[in-house]
């Protein structure tokens, strides 16, 4: 079943400087998709559109068969419950003046989700591998990797069906990165995962399907293993050629 469908979406302030140009792709429910492209290729803008933070200039985005319209408050409330995001920078994604419990409970409060919020926060913390006593502390008391786990806990606390990750492991050191990728992979069995990255190695390890974005356009997409084994587009070929051998070999399995 199609969860997200992006149909001929364009976005940009002027026609000459399109940030996204005629972008189409679909994502099945339960799938893990890697969206790969370098800085400025339009990845983050596409994510903003997918989150309903902005509207495409042309084209449509549908979620679960319904058109994603930021002006439709009732729909957005339902949608926010189902789609959440993890950001790249674990330092700017957590409000420094709020306790971890408030940070993680924010979607529960704002979306008025019934239930024992304290328990739900504790469950979210345990599913990202943090102790329940983390709830009473502040973000500055945690390392980058732990903060990213907290950000993931906030994203999954309301039980979304779709998790978007915007370069979620790019700012982390190698060992932390591997752990967070493992965490996301385990979450990927429970929900759909759209993983945006410039790091093709991580995408190869995590995502079943891959979409390659170059300068505002999708140049190639398909099964990750297939695309990486037989890249068709010159950009994909260049991208693959620039990957350090070691990480590719490690992550292929």
């Amino acid at each position: 079943m199609t969860l997200i469908s992006v149909d001929r979406v364009s976005f940009g302030y002027t026609a000459e400087r399109r940030i996204l140009d005629d972008v189409s792709f679909a994502m099945e429910s339960g799938d893990t998709v890697g969206l790969v492209g370098e800085s400025g290729s339009g990845k983050t803008t596409l994510l903003r559109l997918l989150l309903g933070l902005a509207r495409p200039d042309s084209g449509t985005i549908t979620f679960d068969g319904a058109s994603l319209d930021p002006r439709n408050a009732a729909f957005m409330r339902q949608f926010r419950r189902q789609a959440q995001i993890v950001f790249q920078d674990p330092y700017s994604s957590l409000d420094p003046r709020q306790k971890i419990s408030s940070i993680i409970a924010e979607p529960l409060r704002s979306l008025r989700i019934p239930g024992d919020h304290r328990q739900m926060v504790a469950d979210a913390l345990s599913s990202v591998g943090l102790d329940a006593d983390a709830a009473g502390r502040y973000p500055h008391q945690f390392s980058g990797g732990q903060r990213q786990r907290i950000a993931i806990a906030r994203a999954i606390v309301a039980g979304p069906r779709l998790l978007l990750a915007d370069e979620a492991v790019s700012a982390l050191d190698l060992t932390t990165k591997i752990r967070i990728v493992e965490l996301l992979a385990s979450l990927g069995t429970r929900m759909s995962l759209l993983f945006v990255s410039h790091d093709i190695g991580v995408v190869a390890a995590l995502c079943r399907r891959i979409v390659i974005l170059e300068r505002s356009r999708i140049v190639e997409s398909g099964d990750t293993a297939e695309v990486l084994a037989r890249p068709q587009h010159p950009y994909t070929q260049r991208l693959l050629a620039s990957v350090p051998r070691l990480s590719l070999k490690d992550t292929r399995s």
Partner: protein
């Protein structure tokens, strides 16, 4: 490792000293101000001694030219200064923060217009704007002085709030709050204001000091609280004619005014250093 650990601690020691001095000076004025509500050495407008007496056990800083006790007036002056400072900052903060937040959210056109208006307002001296507002109201009173100073201070608060709020609004945690379904008013209340508050509070302390001095200036010019209220500015003005024969009448309110202004500034400085230290540590 030990070097790294030692330096913030040492700095914190100095911070505390500044902060402590500020708290003590401001605390002294607050204590005196509160005391005047329940006890005064003399009836403030009673002629309790000879004219222009020097310091004595009965009159610690002497009497004015009508024979009223100056120390009593000084004490009341503390209360008036604190009332004006608090009132002006409260009004300035309310107007300023509201406009600042509005500007931070506004469309580019409105934001530019607001920013330009604020810059023009800030270009006028606080006192001048306050005088204008007092002149526009019918009678000079304590209330009109407070409102006037509050309005005069609000432009600076608004400009600072706008810049600070804009800096917060680009943070990922704001986007996360939006995708969590939080409304903009809620985001302002739980994310923006708490994050800009530390810097704002330091500014409020500085504005408080400005308001106290500006109130003295207004009173000196006869635009402040009318006579039954003793204000340091009016005491200075009244002592002006007799400054050579009874210098204490001018020196005492001068010292009171300066001590409160310095106290407030030390407090602001101490607070700022503390916030900076906290930021470095986190």
């Amino acid at each position: 490792m030990s070097d790294v650990a030692a330096s913030p601690n040492r700095r914190r020691g100095i911070v505390s000293l500044t902060l402590m001095a500020g708290i003590m000076l401001v605390g002294l004025h607050i204590a005196i101000g509160l005391l005047t509500l329940v006890w005064l050495p003399y009836e403030p407008n009673a002629f309790t001694g000879g004219r222009l007496e020097g310091a004595s056990l009965a009159h610690w800083v002497g009497t004015d030219r009508l024979g009223r006790d100056l120390f009593t007036q000084l004490m009341i002056g503390s209360r008036i200064a604190l009332t004006v400072g608090l009132g002006a900052v409260a009004i300035g903060a309310t107007i300023g923060v509201s406009i600042g937040i509005l500007a931070a959210f506004a469309s580019r056109w409105l934001d530019d217009a607001l920013a330009a208006t604020l810059d023009i307002l800030i270009a006028f001296p606080t006192l001048l704007i306050a005088m204008l507002v007092v002149a526009a109201s019918d009678t000079a009173s304590l209330g009109s002085a407070i409102v006037a100073l509050g309005i005069a201070l609000s432009a600076i608060v608004a400009r600072l709030t706008r810049i600070l709020a804009k800096r917060v609004l680009v943070m990922d945690y704001i986007t996360a709050a939006r995708t969590s379904g939080s409304s903009w008013p809620k985001i302002v209340a739980i994310h923006v204001l708490p994050n800009i508050w530390p810097t704002l509070s330091v500014n409020f302390a500085l504005q408080f000091g400005l308001a106290v001095i500006a109130e003295a200036s207004l009173s000196y010019l006869g635009l402040g609280a009318p006579p039954p209220n003793a204000s340091w500015g009016r005491m200075l003005q009244e002592a002006q004619g007799t400054v050579y024969t009874a210098p204490l009448g001018a020196i005492a309110p001068g010292i009171a005014l300066v001590s409160l202004a310095i106290g407030v500034n030390l407090l602001a400085d101490g607070l700022r250093a503390r916030i900076d230290a906290a930021r470095t540590l986190s």
